[in-house]
Symmetry: C2
Subunit: 235 residues, 2 copies
Amino acid sequence: MKYQEIAKDMASKINNGFYTDRLPSEADLMEKYATSRNTIRNALDALYNQGVIKRVQGSGCFVNRPLHGRKNVINMANKVGFKALGDNFSLKSRVLKLEVIPAGEEISRYLGCSEEDLVYRVQRLRFNEDEVFSLEDAYYLKSIVPYLFKEACEQSIFKFIEEAYEIDIRSGDEYISVHELTQAEAQASESNVGQAVMSIEEVNYLKNDIAFNYSRTYYFRKGFTAYFHIGNYLC
Amino acid sequence: MKYQEIAKDMASKINNGFYTDRLPSEADLMEKYATSRNTIRNALDALYNQGVIKRVQGSGCFVNRPLHGRKNVINMANKVGFKALGDNFSLKSRVLKLEVIPAGEEISRYLGCSEEDLVYRVQRLRFNEDEVFSLEDAYYLKSIVPYLFKEACEQSIFKFIEEAYEIDIRSGDEYISVHELTQAEAQASESNVGQAVMSIEEVNYLKNDIAFNYSRTYYFRKGFTAYFHIGNYLC
């Protein structure tokens, strides 16, 4: 197993509440994953760099508790935190728009493609129980994601394209700002015009640094908090 | 020179507009910094991981343009972007509160100290020209930052404590949410009660992972956008 896979597996175990405090020792993890100390260390480094775990000198690695157990905190690098939003937290999606259009001026700049290149545009509203969680507008380069359909867009689109097209989604640029809902957005999300919501714009890249997705998501959940860990300050 | 220092120097050159597009080749940088290829590669990796530069296969490294030149975008890992906010952009600070208090229940949880441990509390309003830029409430562990005074708080506090106490500020946890101003906050910032602003809470750590600072900053600038690069998705 590669260290990235081990890191993903451990992040998912933390997300699902299998590990809640102290992690097994390096020796235990080596045995469990049948791998070398070096691979385990690389996996722990990856988890540490993304703020999933903390190190305490002399006593090992612990699950990182963002702001000490506050709710509504999601680690944007690995989505750890969703489980804490509620028992069996899940999102349902209502697809509002699914079309193929030319990228146009704005989107082509974000994706580094030409204005005529075709993109899938997917707009969807996501719910938790009956509460509106987010409104999403996403653009996928058709040359990389050749086919999208409604049923796939009702689930995790990233999971679908990773599996269907064997795409390795590697990195992302995240832009966070405060947005006031326009009339159309308020109508689509059953909210009020001018209501302030958190906006997260993302450009996502494959492992060769080619952009394939630009999206803008508004988060409606009260107190929703995006968490990032910064590993090595350069300022 | 260590690779971190080279990375900081290059980030500052980008921030100041000395490099604007393509960076010098590895060979040129080796000569310029009189160091090995390995050190240069580590510096470029650090800049890449924080979203300061992009790599283009076959043509080298380029300055990363967050959302393609949009204004008001600040890279939270290294503060690249402030220069783009305006010619000779600068912040002036008005210190509203400077006191030594026991950490208390909430702050002690964020800093991992005891409730009786003393902290400096600094509240300040920051201006660009005559426009309110941010309102900041910060708590510094007195055991690590033994003395703070008004003149130091009118400048960059981090720069002051790094220099005065030879502290190496290494990493941070960042929590971003939308906040509606309370009456007291609106009054302090000459704004409106209920106005929605971006809130960034930070816990900052020394290189041994000891927390020394918790702060909560509200950003008033219209369209202010916090940027983060995520290097290796784990989800």
